[in-house]
Symmetry: D3
């Protein structure tokens, strides 16, 4: 298979893209689709507001239109799934969103999942997504760590905040699986899982692994 | 009150805007806010695909940013509510979507509302909205008349199709109130109501009437 | 328009009616419908039990039957919406309930609303209403201040309790908009909003503003 | 046990009360509570409108207040459960509604229940009840036979209409259990079950059998 | 009536069966069905894991197949309702589960019920049941006391833990009725109710009382 | 990777296993996990009743216990997911059910999925699953083709019945994606998709593709 699976980071942070790219390691196979992680240069530093999401959506679509040839699937790698439903209208490549796939994956790992968000303002937007997906009954709750995407680079402080959020979701909200609510949190999956004792879903890995399977199936 | 309420038709059809403008007649008062219905010249002829919706969203936002001064409220007058949540992030004017307000209004007129959509492809998008709003239990169903926004101008055929859709929603889906799922359907409210015997919600009227009340309240 | 919109306070407390009446100020317009706030002399001092609600319902209905002439709309101004569905069976005037309209208005101001109730015993009744409306997914929770309607007149203590309840709904339940669950709380909207930083819905204002719009529309 | 269980028919139809009384036969035991079926003389001929329901509610409450002594439980025997929540506020006797108990019983007999209503106008009211109970997901649908309570006495025509409704609920709505949505339908349980092949819930029997068990338990 | 109602304790603990048997006292009547509480010798000491549940299910079914003659109803007396839907496929006796009946009974006693579970690992399984029943909206939450079925025999410590759990469900989750989530908790109903001030549902009593009523009805 | 992924057909039909095995072709890779499809000799010819499901569950568990060594994942390949939650309690291999994964996959392909069941009696069981998963809002409906697992071997008649069911789900229930509700339907995916114009989910492929991704991720 010589096709490409594009993982589109719709913010302009190369550091986030590098983190995503590293997380793809276990999913790459010599004979599999090439997994290419790209940064949208015209994106915001972090997708945080609804305005960011909606602009990112069109950037993602433009990227996709320019890269249809030889593409097997697009993954929009921001937890607000910018452009997902536009991608699905295009003929040809498959389309996946990391938020949708993270949630679906979490449903196989526990009865009630908790989401660790970056900023409080993202939480209502996420609830609209869970509502549109019709899966709110399975969401234990969301806790924001109160850090912007760029502040995630302070790894010690970020991990500490994520562990605190994860424990709160586990102990107060009854979560039995955690979803990391930002592509930029990819490096923290393993230590978060260890510290909380709960399975942790890294959303881009969740989406790309689902995408790879569907590419193989061809439907 | 010298403020303005903008009703933004995000498609480029002046005929649709004229229909909306006519529907505003009962809501205009000498001393009330000016109700200005505008056409976004850079919009598509009709907002039909998700791509149309997402492009329209940014056009609506750009319009709003350029018209903050003296504006009391913006109404995004397409049944997919393009840009609504972006508008709500802006400080200052209130923001309403015609789909959201139509649904909320329908909830006061019957236990179960049916939606008359223009095209079948809009229906899944609407269900995502009802899901995000958490009100699916009150939706009896949706029926598409299978006509594009521009084809609505053939008034006889359109009304006939709408009446058939309304009767199907009433008799098979148990709807006891109907929502017209397109701003371009404004001229058909009264005859549809008469033909079906059910109350009919015209979405732009629903949104503007709610907006006017909230402008008065100032919150 | 020479018609009248009746705001019916189904308890016998003139102080509550006066508070409601004051809250109507921004909604009154010289040429608009007359907004008349009335006290039902045969009502209980406060509508607190289900028995109170059900007796109030019939009082509201009797009042409506005696005031059909020249009436554009009735608003039943108790947070249990006594008589709402009876009013809707009558031909002629429109009918609105302050609980229903408060909830619908809250849905435009945040993803998840918290309700400040007067007494703990009201909370199960409110949940039955949210259930009948099919909007429970949007309710963050309810907190009672544990004061009767007549005790609301101690304004300092009441406001303090409401602020504590509002903060709890915001911080523990994730509410991003508050609904005041009693018509008698009308005077506290602005300070509550200031103290909590969340938008606050005053239910009678919400209902009357929706009613005014619908009167204008004539449907 | 010398206590009494009152089955309160809140309409004034002695024929309906007689039908209910006959349906109680299998539930009467020499040493059990006396099951007394009473007609509220001040009730309407049939409880059909919301106004009927709300007036009936207060009649039921008045009856209960006058019959507290020696009473183990009250069953409000109209499918709109008039007065149920008022009865539950009273200290002493247990309180059951036939609609609530019919639904709960149906949940043990099939995954999805269909309701045969008397009049179309009752259906939205029933949906409010299923919503308040939080069990809408288990309701396959409702079909009205379009006959008033007093018209039920034409037994041949009524049964025929009920069978048609039951078959429609089974074949089009996927119901695997039927609920008769009126106390006056009691005589038709067996033939309806035979004609449709589905288990059929007679609501007053459902309520009284639950009440008897709870009286024995004393909680 | 000479028929038998079997209450099947699918764990091998005679102490639990004895507790259940004692709880049956108020439900036994000279002329009623014999209520026989049996221990499945081949069951685990306590049904705690899903493996326990699924093995118990087949034991329950085997018992039922061997005791069809003269049996009016089977009650599967473990809070995971092992075998319930298998029993319902068998012709003849009625079948009830204590979890299902406890929940249905709780719905008549409060708007929102809290469940006291034995072990944290049971909670996700219970939520699957509430989901399958479509009643999650009525569940306030679950709190585990963290004791195995056999540890329930330390009555002082168990009751203390149950009271703490009940108070937490009442005060933090808003429960207004409690369900004891294990047949082995039967002896604690009265003191738990007294300590929390909330009605408490003992699940085997709930199931058997519903079963007795249905046996009388014969449907 | 030298590990094995077991696809466990819990019925004894070698023909069904052969069909599943053929459907695995696109998912097999030289260096990937070995995908081994096994027939449980002690299973029923077809898993049709709840009794079949519950017996199959224990067979699946026994198979898993005997094959832990070197196993990466188990897929329980019957649409009732027998044993799924027992498998998840075991340490080590991952566990997937074809019904759960089919539904999750369908959620990425359309807003509302329709299920083609084999027998009417399976439908209530499926709804319990959708309820336990909390995704009922996304289920358009189910239609049974009324054929047993063994009758699926008459391929012409089966495909015809499946196409009729798919069209009914599309046209009457508004499904925009179809799920084949039996592992034995695997050979019919492509022609069903072509005949209905809707994407069709083959459940075993859906489950194995998700399993393969998760094996690669190692979580």
């Amino acid at each position: 298979m010589s096709q490409t699976l594009y993982v589109i980071n719709p913010n302009s942070s190369e550091a986030v893209t590098a983190g995503i790219d590293a997380a793809m390691a276990p999913l790459r196979r010599p004979e599999g689709p090439a997994i290419r992680c790209v940064t949208l240069a015209d994106g915001p530093p972090g997708v945080q507001t609804q305005h960011d999401v909606d602009r990112a959506a069109l950037s993602v679509r433009r990227f996709a239109e320019a890269h249809l040839e030889g593409t097997a699937a697009f993954v929009t790698a921001c937890f607000s799934d910018p452009g997902l439903h536009m991608l699905r209208e295009m003929r040809g490549p498959l389309a996946f969103g990391i938020s949708e796939c993270a949630a679906l994956t979490a449903l196989t790992l526990g009865q009630s999942f908790g989401v660790i968000a970056i900023l409080p303002a993202s939480i209502p937007r996420h609830w609209r997504t869970w509502g549109a997906m019709g899966i709110q009954q399975r969401v234990a709750g969301e806790v924001a760590i109160g850090r912007t995407v760029s502040e995630l680079s302070d790894q010690t402080a970020t991990l500490e905040a994520m562990i605190a959020a994860g424990r709160r979701l586990r102990d107060e909200n009854g979560a039995n699986v955690l979803v990391m609510g930002c592509a930029g949190m990819a490096p923290f999956r393993a230590p978060l899982q260890e510290a909380t004792g709960l399975p942790v879903v890294e959303p881009t890995q969740a989406a790309v692994s689902m995408a790879l399977g569907r590419i193989q199936l061809g439907w």
